[in-house]
Subunit: 243 residues, 6 copies
């Protein structure tokens, strides 16, 4: 798998998930937004990074005992210690948020290791604490019970479902105030570029709207609006052909 | 349809939805509160205005393509451009918040045009941005996907359902921190007056409670409490007969 | 029933619900966390106190009329006036949050009377107001309709269910940013002690993690980490044997 | 509490729950139908009888162990042995059907004792067996786990909620192929009479419709249709005045 | 709108909804199956016919009183009396099956008038009776309460949503044991033909599978299997080119 | 993995899932019943066999196209062709039954190959047909859409979740009219024996109950009842010591 280029990462850091959703929609991809997993982080941190996945199945009482954490190879603990810097840890909890999938200590360790964010369709515990970390986090609910109560960690870095979206390892996760969207790895670069240009246009349009322009002719833009937009691009304007 | 009088609007700007819910309950109306649609706006803006409605049905992939927005007569776009100033745009998304029903540009345009608020039992995208507008908004969830992903706009200004409540065009929408309630147009003036007086009483009662008064005799108020309340009304007191 | 000792209360005021959940899990108790009932209070107030319960069944239109509040023996009103100081009022609304179970006046009266908190798996109305009280509150949703719309109050201080957890009168309710957990009365003192010690250890561990320590050997702690932890306890260290 | 008269019982044995729902609706009672609890019984047995209630709260692992059944005073077992002949056993499981609330042996014992039916918003186990009993049963789901897995029996013959409907001991439970409806005890006799007459009329109307009559004038019936209906009543016709 | 040709109707009478779903899927239509609305009819009657729609919004207590049925123009009653013979009556109840959308008398009248079926994402009352009619019916649940309890009828023959699927008047509704699927009117003829041919092939394949053929080469069929299939078609074989 | 012995299989063919659920409950296993997955098969076929698993994640439109079935290595098709005779095919669809996970042709092929049953928390299509097979099947719903609409098959024979229960390959699946329960492989033999003996006792108890015996002393049985039960065992009685 090729790395996420810094160019694509930089573009995605300023593109909204709304814009990305529309670009994926135009390509026939309608199910890449992670439903039911809002931002926990209290500040509007943007999240971008390739997915590193952890899969849980329902817990079984006889094997999911507190002792399992003594094993450093336990998949949840291993996920925290092996998620590559710059990657986003994405957890499949089958949408069951009646227990946590991680807590404050693990989230902090992930942050220290350079993890770019945590996304889970289960719960997170120590949520007040995690909400203040310098790493964006998204979860289905705040939930105090330990993951062992409901979740049995089985796999690292396999394809998973998260909040009804498919997530393949290496897919690019992008998060903002609307939530998290999954960019298939193979089209992430082009989607990022198209989104970057589209968002510049949308900023211009929003500015026009704020000044009193009507939707007609402005959004979507007609030829004249596009011409005025291009004029604002100045020497960086070359990318606008992709809009 | 008669206009919403400024007197009624002024009264409703200071009456809580809780008080209005009780007044409707006393009239046998139990289903006018819009369930599952909390305030998105970050500040405690109050919302009052007649309903202007937009109805969506589920999207169909072959007709709900990105090109539809080129048509200025597309019902969603037309709703934004025709919602009368002072009115609230209310959208029926059948409670499906897996896609947005509007985004930052459209919400901004509505605000600029004088729209008094937006209420949707679907999602809103660019939610961080919309939350900071000087126009109150209420939605079922933050959701990045474009409305075309799930919603096909069909009608303007027909009776709709929104979050299990019936909404007829012209009904008076009132929103605060508890959510949104729908006042049937025909009784809005009298409900507003009764609510206005009731809220004055409730403020007095709350004050008494804060000073240590027990519920008995204070809430609901007995004769003596009512007498002391009326004494506080002074020259504005005439309306208290309605309590 | 024996009182909640100030020692236990003090300990629980600093122990997280996450830690308590794990301690209960180790004792085989997996269902004591109240699902779906997040904190309403805007500041991070901690909640500790014995449960005083109020049970609702579904409302019946002919008997749940506005007049019932004229009766000071109405169970909801009586609950507010009789919840003992330091206790938490816990309400069973069968998870139906389409109506409120209390509002601003009642919550204020409870606070004035020394109530330690309110927990309900129904709604709360006047939520902006209640969120600012100096008493922690937890509810399933903000909801304007009066309780009579859906809820008929029947019993005080009987065993109830709240958000899928069993709550017996006198059980110790503990709430923080993750939500609320129920400590069975008979084991509350020992759980509080164990939790208190465990949380001191977790604080130490978190500090180590922040300094860059890996999970292995630190969390869960090995002999060496425990030794260093015990060294930090100094003269307060005696309790660490319980960890 | 007065007994259910055999006259009322006989009438209710031939009145549909649909007709009863409409009669209650006309009296302002909209929530008496038990939602989500279909008939389990394989044959179309009709059910009529006063409610005898059993209340469950969520189970707690330390007290809900298999040994509790050794105690003949355990509320579930006691309910089976004390439900009066002719009564319907109604169970409040908070709508949680992930475990059973009774099984084949207990249901058989209830039937032998003369129980008129079982209604539960939890599960029933040994469902194939129970479906063939000569006693009508209604449950939210077939579910193998023992009640102890989720349900802790606490009370007999207190007001409960069942499937969102309020059920007071002594209320008259009526069940058919549409499900179960709850008649408040105080109005059961008059509702039964009105329903009995209404159903005779509806049978006449259905017959007319089968012969090709249009809805207009037939349903609801106009004067002429009513006249023809009354003519069919012959010597039993006196009750038709209540229609 | 052009009529449904008898040729297309005849083809659809023998094509499964499963086959039709796959054909729509191949055209990019993924949301045409009506979720959560199983067959009520006890016998395996097939349903085919153009949609005639009825739209409900949530009921309002002051206007949805029993008297409304005196008006023969009430949309629900008018729907029953005007649904054209051979058409399917499709009702939008916003997925709320806590009340009925029709009962035995109305369903019988519709059948007598030649209605080809009833589909509703609300409830049906008198369900035992309706299940035995010679007209296929599909509903979300059996439900005794009258439609007025939850549903206010507003429109005839407008686009609606039913069970998350879009339904436009004139779309072809097809129902079997798997449920109901909606064929957009414009492509119904070609989908019917393709489905007819596909189902002939699937019958052949199923026969091969029953005789022990493996999936590989049989399903999907390879050249050789297709050749043998075509040989079975004999003089009717011309249509197989569409497979 | 050791095979399922014919002795254990024979015992499980006559033990109810209710009895097995109680035996697992006594061992602390409370989550082994597969919630929300009722029997589809129209006759009361019993199901017993080791689990062979298939894991789906959410579909992605660009890779889940109809062409994938051309590949005989597609996991769904491979599952059907490789499930060992006597095994039960268990599918993890994340509880999403809005699309099928298999249809009539595949289910028939599985039956022909000796598959002991199919269990899925997704849908099944061609359900009328599958319901009549001589192989027991269990699914969350009847659903016409092809699996590609929602489900992307990824893995064979890995641990999965099915209807909130954990399923490890080789676990013993047992199904009857109450649904399906999962016996962990390691304890299946002893649970089968205990269940077999327990069910003999329950049959005896049921017989006593039918003759009029009260619960007390009969269920659970006291010494005297047990003595009489043992007397009925005659020469097969040796196993009763396990009760």
């Amino acid at each position: 798998m090729t790395e996420l280029s810094s160019e694509t990462r930089d573009r995605l850091m300023v593109v909204s998930t709304a814009t990305l959703a529309t670009i994926l929609f135009k390509r026939g991809l309608r199910s890449q937004f992670i439903q039911g997993v809002p931002r926990l982080t209290s500040r509007p941190l943007k999240m971008v990074g390739p997915a590193f996945t952890l899969r849980y199945i329902p817990a079984r009482e006889d094997i999911d005992t507190i002792e399992v954490f003594r094993d450093p190879e336990h998949p949840q603990r291993k996920a925290i210690e092996t998620v590559p810097p710059g990657h986003v840890l994405v957890m499949d909890c089958r949408g069951d948020h009646s227990a946590a999938s991680a807590g404050g200590i693990l989230a902090t360790r992930a942050m220290i290791r350079g993890c770019a964010g945590i996304v889970t369709d289960g719960g997170l515990r120590d949520a007040d604490e995690i909400a203040e970390l310098d790493m964006p986090t998204y979860c289905a609910a705040r939930s105090a019970p330990t993951n062992l109560t409901r979740h049995h960690a089985v796999d690292l870095n396999v394809p998973i479902g998260c909040g009804t979206a498919p997530v393949f390892p290496g897919d690019i996760m992008v998060g903002d105030g609307d939530g998290v969207i999954v960019l298939p790895r193979g089209i992430a670069d082009e989607v990022a570029l198209e989104g970057f240009n589209q968002d510049k246009l949308e900023s211009f349009v929003l500015d026009e709207i704020r000044k009193g322009a009507p939707l007609r002719g402005t959004y979507p833009p007609n030829e004249e609006t596009l011409k005025r937009f291009k004029a604002t691009l100045g020497d960086t304007g070359s990318g606008s052909g992709a809009i």
